[in-house]
């Protein structure tokens, strides 16, 4: 069945709720309206308002109450309307959800999924475009996931819901309706007309912690995730370079095996993410690659990322690390 990422996420919620009545879904505008991006459409009608409901506008309240419900024994799957609005909940995520199992000696646990649309490309300016993944990957006790297509969105979300620990589930909103490759001036193929829009109807999980090689290659490894998986492919095509592209899918736990095997094979590594550069997840990847593949490297590990500035409104496409920037850096790395 062909689905958009939005439909795949809605479908994952639906199957999880049907299978397990401990699964509850809530957030701002999530109930009657079905979410501002429609990711929870129809769930309230189907499962009733005590399993899918609207909340007051308090991200702290959403996450804090979800932690309490998880401690009670439910499986909350909550939506933060935009990742840019998660900060009021940060204390609850970092100091509470992430550490509950550890600090209570396993007495209390926190099986909880916090979903949030992230990334730019929609003229959302600094408050609807952020990619805050490294603020979560830096915290011990959290898992962090970001799908790049409908099939994975469904499987990863179901795996996140099954997971016994808190999972941050980042949804690249620019991919919701199609595989945007960074060419903002060209129409995108909708998921409905794309093979990756093929989503099995049944319940399935895509394991957390497993990367996927989306394109095999021999000259350079590109490590990326989310929207940038598609941008990286466009960039590699335009540079005409035989790149191996790895969609990490899960940032923590990280599939170090797949990464190391690929870089040892190609001898070069370019990391592509939309988030700002300094202390971004690319810094972690870069450190990992240089320490585990040092003697195989033929060029310095290179990062292609958003600039270290707030995300701009009008100058969006000069900020966004599009295919041209990826191609340019690939060529540079090949010249070494």
């Amino acid at each position: 069945m062909r689905m958009t990422i939005i439909e795949a996420i809605q479908n994952a919620h639906d199957l999880a709720m049907a299978r397990d009545d401990k699964v509850v879904v809530f957030g701002e505008d999530v109930g009657f309206f079905g979410g501002v991006f429609r990711c929870t459409a129809g769930l309230q009608e189907k499962y009733g308002p005590s399993r899918c409901f609207d909340t007051p506008i308090s991200e702290l309240g959403i996450v804090g109450s979800a932690i309490g419900m998880a401690a009670y024994g439910l499986k909350p799957v909550v939506e933060i309307q935009f990742a840019d609005y998660v900060y009021p909940a940060y204390d609850q995520i970092v100091s509470e959800a992430a550490r509950l199992r550890h600090r209570s000696g396993g007495d209390f646990t926190c099986p909880l999924v916090i979903r949030m649309p992230s990334g730019g490309g929609i003229y959302g300016g600094q408050t609807h475009s952020q990619s805050p993944e490294s603020l979560f990957t830096h915290v011990a006790g959290l898992k962090t996931v970001m799908p790049s297509n409908p099939r994975d969105a469904k499987g990863l979300l179901l795996a996140a819901i099954e997971d016994p620990d808190p999972v941050i589930f980042l949804e690249p909103k620019r991919l919701y309706n199609g595989p945007f490759d960074g060419h903002h001036d060209r129409p995108i193929v909708p998921w409905k007309k794309h093979d990756l829009g093929d989503v099995a109807k049944n319940y399935y999980t895509t394991p957390l912690g497993k990367a996927e090689i989306v394109r095999a290659g021999s000259k350079v490894t590109i490590l990326t995730y989310g929207t940038m998986v598609h941008v990286a492919q466009a960039g590699a095509n335009e540079a005409g370079i035989d790149a191996e592209i790895i969609d990490l899918r899960t940032l923590i736990p990280l599939d170090t095996e797949t990464i190391e095997a690929s870089v040892k094979k190609t001898g070069r590594c370019v990391i592509v993410h939309e988030a700002t550069k300094t202390c971004g997840f690319g810094a972690e990847l870069s450190a990992l690659v240089q320490s585990s593949c040092f003697f195989y490297l033929e060029a310095p590990v290179t990062r292609v990322t958003g600039w270290d500035t707030p995300y701009p409104h009008a100058q969006e496409w000069d900020y966004f690390p599009g295919p041209a920037r990826v191609a340019q850096n690939l060529k540079k790395v090949m010249e070494v």
Partner: protein, 411 residues
């Protein structure tokens, strides 16, 4: 006698009507205009508890100003009030169209709520500071901020004072008493309290006005603001604009269906009252009273402006999927422009003909500003803001890593 424990169930607030239902405001109790008393400036929160459950209204059904809150504004003041609201409405209408034409990315209007910001602004003095949300553009219009500057910002053109960095309408205008809008709901509220505390610390005479929507009062920022404002008697007016909706969520969610937003102030000992937000005269009078209290060192006041969001939440929103059809027409407090117009006509200072003529003149004025802004550029044409500006002003002095990145970006 021992009883078996009953299974519990979760209460989830829902509005009385949704699409398919007939709009119904019958349980919305509206006191008569003129009925509310006017407490002394130094009244305690306790002595005016009832005012958090009533509504101060001045203009009655016939457009007459009645009761103790009548301030006797001059005809000129009333006419400029009407003009400000009409300007704001015309401005919104033109910018909505501009957004549809692709000249900008996004827009949010104040339709139906014009009296709140326009009347409030007239009670502030030079140097006072508003900490607004995106739905108080009337503070700029009534404050005399050039419309073309607003449009330059909306279009992110080369003359945009915010250099293309911010989404449309997240203005900043310090000289006009308008703090930079964040986009993250609620953050500005406590900052207003802090600004007011700053004025007190410095022995200044300026006051601050904090603004928040009904939905956003759920944010902890709102509660922290009240703790600080009451603890330090901060010279601040705490405004809650209850326009009944927060995107698709009705206001009963944020107040728990039982209290009022004004009543939130009681736990903090803050004098709190509700005002008819579609009544220019009532908003003006209550705002003046609260501002005078702040200036006299009597501390914060919480004002709930009762109004209605007559339009969609934003250009990304279609309210017909969550609001009953015709709800706006059924809204019992009417339209702020109509009501002030009727009052002016009743005073013999205005007429329907002059209203029609004013509408045309005002629309022309807005079009002029729009032409001038578009002559510079829009989001998609003409001279746009520079990409060099992505890197400027992140810090006062650009650190080396940004200098390098700017070069890499080609600027």
């Amino acid at each position: 006698m021992h009883k078996d424990p009953q299974p519990l169930s979760l209460h989830v607030p829902e509005p009385g009507c949704r699409p398919g239902d007939a709009p119904d405001f019958s349980d919305f109790i509206i006191p008569k205009a003129g009925e509310a008393r006017k407490p002394a400036l130094d009244a305690s929160a306790q002595s005016m508890r009832d005012m958090a459950f009533s509504i101060v209204r001045v203009l009655n059904k016939d457009g007459k100003a009645v009761g103790p809150w009548v301030e006797n504004l001059s005809v000129d003041q009333l006419k400029s009030g009407l003009r400000h609201m009409m300007l704001l409405r015309a401005f919104d209408a033109r910018m909505l169209i501009a957004q549809r034409q692709g000249k900008t990315s996004f827009y949010m209007q104040s339709l139906g709520e014009e009296a709140v910001s326009c009347a409030f602004r007239m009670t502030l003095k030079d140097g006072d500071m508003n900490f607004p949300t995106y739905r108080q553009s009337g503070l700029l219009i009534a404050g005399g901020y050039p419309m073309q500057m607003m449009m330059n910002q909306i279009y992110s053109n080369a003359e945009d004072p915010l250099k293309g960095r911010q989404m449309p309408i997240l203005y900043s205008a310090k000289d006009y008493g308008y703090f930079s809008i964040s986009g993250n709901l609620g953050t500005q509220y406590i900052q207003a309290v802090g600004w007011a505390m700053g004025s007190a610390i410095a022995g200044d005479t300026k006051i601050a006005a904090a603004w928040i929507g009904d939905g956003s009062t759920s944010a902890s920022d709102f509660h922290a603001s009240m703790v600080f404002a009451s603890a330090y008697h901060a010279p601040v007016v705490l405004n809650v604009v209850n326009n009944q909706w927060a995107i698709s969520t009705f206001q009963g969610m944020a107040r728990g269906e039982v209290a009022t937003f004004a009543a939130r102030g009681h736990g903090f000992g803050i004098p709190s009252l509700r005002v008819d937000g579609n009544d220019y005269l009532a908003v003006h009078a209550v705002a003046k009273w609260a501002a005078d209290r702040a200036r006299a060192g009597l501390g914060p006041t919480l004002i709930e402006h009762v109004t209605y969001r007559a339009g969609g939440h934003s250009t990304s929103d279609d309210p017909s999927s969550y609001r009953a059809k015709g709800e706006g027409h059924a809204w019992p407090l009417g339209d702020p422009i109509e009501r002030l117009k009727t009052h002016l006509i009743m005073l013999g200072a205005w007429s329907e003909e002059r209203q029609t003529q004013a509408e045309t003149e005002i629309m022309d004025e807005v079009r002029e500003a729009q032409k001038a802004a578009e002559a510079i550029g829009t989001l998609t044409s003409g001279k746009s803001s520079s990409s060099r500006d992505i890197f400027e002003e992140v810090y006062a002095v650009m650190p080396p890593h940004l200098v390098k990145q700017r070069k890499e970006a080609g600027y």
